[in-house]
Subunit: 392 residues, 2 copies
């Protein structure tokens, strides 16, 4: 089994590297499309390869509940189960424990999107939490059938061993952007204690385990967590939890944290990125990303172009014979007009969601390739400036 | 423009032929997958070619309402709009007028599936009709927004000209399996009058127009309609409307009708078939078919195999590592297990509907190729016997 990370080029804090895994090499910086339920929605593994995916991320919590880790293991692990022979990362379930707990209660996600003029108003209606956190782990009610389950650092790692991903994540406690300093500190300290239990359970020769830095948007806590997690013998480091209330807050979190992490280990940013985030976070030293945005947006008709996002459902595209983006080499742009795509969306046809997903992933993954090349070429700053100038 | 049909081999009434169209040759007997809204649900044109589709059928009524025939014409016609460069057939909207009219009122489809022990009970709850038929045409309320529209023989043909299919159908009045002799005769006579109006509107050098034989499951009427429609200068002939209350009734209708149709014109059977129907109808002289069954069933988890249909949602497939069918060359069976497919269906993942559609169409289209070869080889009777013996 090969598990190794090498930085092979740098431009400021931005870096290109090679992440070797038992299922192949990931050229970094890299973006992992999300396949929550062992499928990147609408696409086959062949499609994923065609759009340039090197690896994907699947969700431990979802697969633990359905179809179950025992079943996936019995069928040869995730790679075999879903027919994806390339690298896979699994998250730990920590974020879903947050989604079912504090996130429901606070009505927020990773970044609290506040209503203008009401700094305390949450983004979504609040609901009763479905998860309770204790020292041992997280007790939660399944979102599928209400059944009760306990996920601990040990069970999370064991489930991830059964799933058989190449890269796995420590079990952590995420906090909400609305959590106060006291709660965020307590959660961070629990995450640090859980980190040791994850390391104790880890089979280091089989999978690359990433520790997760927590601490919300609190400077002191992020530094403390960066130092603590960064010093443990993890394979890689991830930055998780609340990233504050804006993209500026997120950049602050990265600026506080990344300089404290070891240079020679891969760094993953959990649950980010929109196209412009990829530039600003790579610039700060992030190596890998996962995010549902490109695929989820696609299924709602939000399509990336070099001049920003368009919504294909709009009436202006009704008779537009152009592809989503002129010059785009993706299967969708090579074969279909905006007018046809709009028709598929308006008619609620599955092919629309599929063609939109192909385009958005091709866009993001092509952007990542360009971004890697620009670091090698020493043109990262110009490529970033040009991209951000056009991305409205 | 080439529009020509040639019978090149026969075995009893079964025949193999070549149907030349402006967008290529269809080897008959052929099955056209249905792409109601200018998309065979979940698949791209490349997928359709990969499963062996030679042509598809799209629905005039649906496309007339959305996105509109003017728009499709402006964007270069259906072939260009949906990116399918091969033959297309469009129906006339006659069947949808029936679906919104008598079918709603009687709660039936093409074949009235009766509840056992209650020969008069319809298959579905009855509702108020949304279409009214007059001598001029059909006045109907859109199923999308309730807007009022009139479809006449002339507008149906004109809309089909705008859509630009290779093969088009006359506007007809379908009757329900529950319609009495008097109503069925009146509808047939109206269909005969409309046939003349369709022929008058047809541009014979552009598209191949099929007349439609009606007459329900009444022997006299089918003979009368077969003779009348068969004698008109249509490019091809279709058998439409009610096919009775069982597959035996359907076979009777074909046995009454087909001998009265000219030998040298292609014969289309509307809205049929299940795998075994393809054998029994080809045996009676049908050249082409269209049917939503393989694709619709697929989206509900019903998968064809040589030993009958299986429902992939069943718990017995939970941990089944085998493909849907051993030896099947389709993309789905080559890459994925029953266990993975079941997971996708249980998790309501779009990829499941797509992979199931690929398999069912590959099954049907491979069967059609085998069936053609068997007519050429003189083994049709054995191939049919063998297939029916295993298809439970």
């Amino acid at each position: 089994m090969t598990l190794r990370f090498q930085v092979i080029g740098q431009a400021g804090a931005a870096r290109v590297g090679q992440l070797e895994t038992p299922h192949g090499v990931v050229e970094t910086p890299a973006f992992f499309p999300v396949g929550t339920q062992a499928t990147v929605k609408t696409l086959t593994p062949d499609d994923l390869q065609a759009v340039g995916a090197q690896g994907i991320l699947a969700n431990t919590y979802h697969l633990f509940l359905r179809p179950g880790a025992d079943l996936v293991e019995e069928l040869g692990g995730l790679h075999s189960f879903m027919g994806w022979p390339h690298p896979i990362m699994t998250d730990s379930g920590g974020y879903q424990a947050f989604s079912l707990g504090l996130a429901l209660e606070h009505g927020v996600g990773k970044i609290a999107k506040m209503f203008p003029g009401n700094a305390e108003a949450p983004t979504r209606p609040t609901r009763k939490r479905l998860a309770r956190i204790g020292e041992d782990g997280v007790q939660f009610s399944s979102h599928l059938d209400g059944s009760q389950h306990l996920l601990t650092p040990e069970t999370s790692i064991k489930v991830q061993q059964q799933l058989g991903a190449d890269l796995i994540l420590a079990f952590d406690e995420c906090t909400s952007p609305l959590s106060d300093l006291g709660y965020t500190r307590a959660a961070m300290e629990r995450t640090h204690r859980w980190a040791g239990r994850c390391l104790d359970t880890w089979a280091a020769d089989q999978q690359g385990l990433y520790g997760i830095v927590q601490g919300g948007a609190y400077h002191d806590l992020r530094e403390q967590s960066g130092r603590f997690i960064g010093a443990l013998p993890f394979f890689g480091l991830a930055i998780g939890g609340s990233l504050g209330r804006s993209k500026d807050d997120m950049h602050d979190v990265l600026d506080w944290t990344i300089p404290l992490l070891p240079e020679d280990k891969p760094r993953h940013l959990l649950g980010i990125g929109e196209p412009r985030d990829l530039f600003t976070c790579v610039e700060r030293g992030i190596d890998t990303f996962d995010c549902v945005a490109p695929t989820r947006l696609a299924r709602h008709g939000g399509l990336y172009t070099a001049s920003g996002r368009l919504n294909i459902r709009k009436a202006i595209y009704r008779d537009d014979p152009a592809p989503i983006e002129e010059g785009c080499a993706c299967q969708t742009c090579q074969g279909f007009s905006r007018a046809y795509l709009r028709h598929l969306f308006v008619a609620d046809e599955i092919l629309g969601y599929r063609l939109a997903t192909v385009h958005n992933l091709h866009f993001i993954l092509t952007l990542m390739a360009r971004l890697r090349q620009s670091i090698v070429d020493g043109t990262f700053v110009e490529v970033k400036r040009e991209f951000l100038a056009h991305d409205r």
